[in-house]
Symmetry: none
Subunit: 402 residues, 2 copies
């Protein structure tokens, strides 16, 4: 529907996503993190912009991070191609561009005892440098199995990626991670006859990796997860006519952005570093759309740590002037989903949202939080519509019909 | 979509439906029945819960009771199978389980004069016991027509049910009720060639019934309505993993509930009796989901009787503590549609809604009525999403995607 309405111009869009932004009020948590946080800059943005609450998928459905971000980027989060396996998302997220026939696997380094029984599914959360060392060691010994090229790369800490490259592969293979310790890893079972060869290659890889890593103290085994293939996703440039970049530190978010055709930019992890990176590429001027991802709000929400979540929100607020100073034509502050401290998990509750542009229209909202946004001019609306609003507010959409 | 997210737990859901709950304010009716009613318990529920207004079908569409209840139970009210004929719904509602090939007919006992002209389409609204006597009389004389078994049963008062059972039947036959008096009943016309035999069997039944009832003072004729066949509807147990029960006194609501796979429970007609019944089966513990249906709000709305409707709402409020005392994990108070006293009919207006659970999230609503619920945290939302919210709030949905 959108594509024939797209028109080009020089406008710039900044799309700031604060992960797990939304919260709920309960008797035990009478304030959400947004209620509790002191946010003069976000409040001013809400006063001058248009607010609402975005529904990640639909009422009552709690999204994972992948589908939630696809929705933010305007892709149907329920379409199978947008519920992409972690193998593809994380390997893409470290900047590795998969080929259509590749099978991508998210690996965990793990610890097994002498009987092969899992004692730690994350190998004591070994540091990133250890993960890099072990990947290099594996990569040196395992380069090919049964005519299929094996590419091994570190992702983060105990997490790594494996790419199988060659003819006749299939991602229809079950994961080997039993999700609990105290038993042996599962065999990689083919879910279809066409996946039998791939399953046996994965089984061989697991066995070879065990031999190579036998002398490691912690990371002496591997678990194979999120076995998947790169989906066909229309990139931002074609879908919206936008040259786009992603300022995100974590592989999953980088991966989804890359799958949507965004350029990945190296950045530090702190809010200030991310905003500095965004400002730098904004000033360079070769991107129309910059996605910035702030992670820690979600992590604190998952921990039930209201003070921590509030602190990150205040950190975003304190650094917001750096983005405002760029004077983007459209500035959006949104969340991918709610992560209420009361629940210590992702949830289905709609997420506070604000958009500021010349013609956004001003509503009556004067503070950026759940209850104020609820009364905002956008009401409660599907997150998948955010990109259309971004394009409209940047003057990049023609009218539909005469 | 939902099905692969369903997970089982021990949570209990109570879903109270107050028929025709919603109203509208007009110059002649400056208060709705909910505005006028004194409802401390419902107001407390609204204060501690999350509110909104549910759209039975979509904006501007006034639903019948059948589609409105299918929507409440999470089934698309516009899907043909969920707009089931009254024959099926009411016969199912008296506890009779139809077979897939059966044709079900809702009958009215009626009065005709010596020339066969209709003088009363409801046979003077004969009492239920009279209906039972006449059904027994008919059933004794008419057991089979043209190799097809004929099963006759009382429904309520002047309303009865006829089941045609055998091979080669079709429900594609027009009703014989002309909807007005002063003319003769219509012939049962086949709408398709395949329905010709069924039409002739129904014509023969109408004629035989006229002979058997010739000596009756009031109920001396029959009108055939809602000729229909049992639809294929995925039951609650499979769709939601819920063991469910219906506490409803009227056949139509019992019928829809039964078609959705709910167990039907015998109950008295008053609000107190219904809540007592619900409490009894709740305490027995073998149902996860209990639907309770309160009818009289709708009847008073249809009469334009604001005081009457207000009275029933206050009766619900006074008895609400009996449900609260059960401490269900999720308590929902909803309506199937609005029946504004100002209109004396069902209407399209969104219906006040409240849901209370541990993690519903508290909004700013402090009273249960149309104008307050409009400001609630759920906004205006499709009634067909209520079951998803019920499942999410009871912890029965996994997150979608990684």
């Amino acid at each position: 529907m959108l594509r024939h309405l797209i028109r080009a111009n020089d406008s710039k869009i900044i799309f700031l996503v604060i992960d797990g932004l939304g919260g709920i009020r309960t008797p035990a948590f009478p304030k959400t993190a947004l209620d509790a946080a002191v946010t003069p800059n976000l409040d001013a943005l809400a006063s001058g912009g248009i607010c609402g609450r975005s529904l990640p998928i639909t009422r009552g459905i709690t999204p994972g991070s992948g589908p939630a971000h696809f929705a933010l980027f305007g892709y149907d989060p329920l379409a199978p191609e947008n519920d992409t396996g972690r193998g593809v998302v994380e390997i893409t997220g470290v900047g590795y561009d998969l080929l259509p026939g590749d099978v991508a696997i998210r690996g965990n380094f793990a610890t097994v005892d002498d009987d092969g029984v899992l004692t730690d599914r994350r190998a004591g959360r070994i540091p990133h440098e250890e993960g890099e060392r072990i990947c290099a060691k594996l990569g040196e010994k395992i380069k090919e199995i049964d005519g299929i090229e094996i590419i091994i790369m570190p992702v983060r800490e105990y997490r790594f990626g494996v790419v199988l490259r060659g003819e006749g592969l299939s991602p229809e293979v079950e994961e080997t991670d039993p999700q609990v310790t105290g038993g042996k890893p599962l065999p990689p079972v083919a879910m279809t006859p066409a996946a039998k060869r791939t399953a046996s290659i994965i089984a061989r890889f697991v066995s070879m990796a065990g031999e190579v890593l036998a002398d490691e103290g912690k990371a002496n085994a591997v678990l194979m997860r999120g076995i998947s293939r790169r989906p066909v996703i229309e990139p931002f440039s074609e879908r919206y006519g936008l040259s786009s970049a992603a300022v995100a530190a974590y592989p999953l978010y980088r991966g989804v952005a890359r799958l949507c055709g965004m350029d990945l930019v190296d950045t530090g992890f702190s809010v200030r570093e991310e905003f500095d990176t965004a400002a730098e590429i904004f000033r360079r001027g070769d991107h129309d759309f910059i996605f910035i991802h702030v992670k820690k709000t979600d992590s604190y929400g998952e921990d039930g740590n209201l003070g921590g979540k509030k602190g990150v929100i205040e950190e975003v607020d304190a650094n917001l002037p750096a983005l405002l100073a760029l004077e983007p034509d459209v500035l959006i502050v949104a969340g991918d989903h709610s992560t209420p401290c009361a629940m210590k998990s992702h949830s289905w509750h709609p997420v506070p949202f604000v958009l500021k542009s010349e013609f956004c229209g001003i509503d009556g909202v004067t503070a950026f939080n759940e209850s104020e946004c609820e009364q905002g001019g956008l009401g409660i609306f599907p997150a998948v519509d955010i990109m259309t609003l971004a394009l409209a507010n940047s003057g990049r959409l023609r009218k539909h019909g005469a």
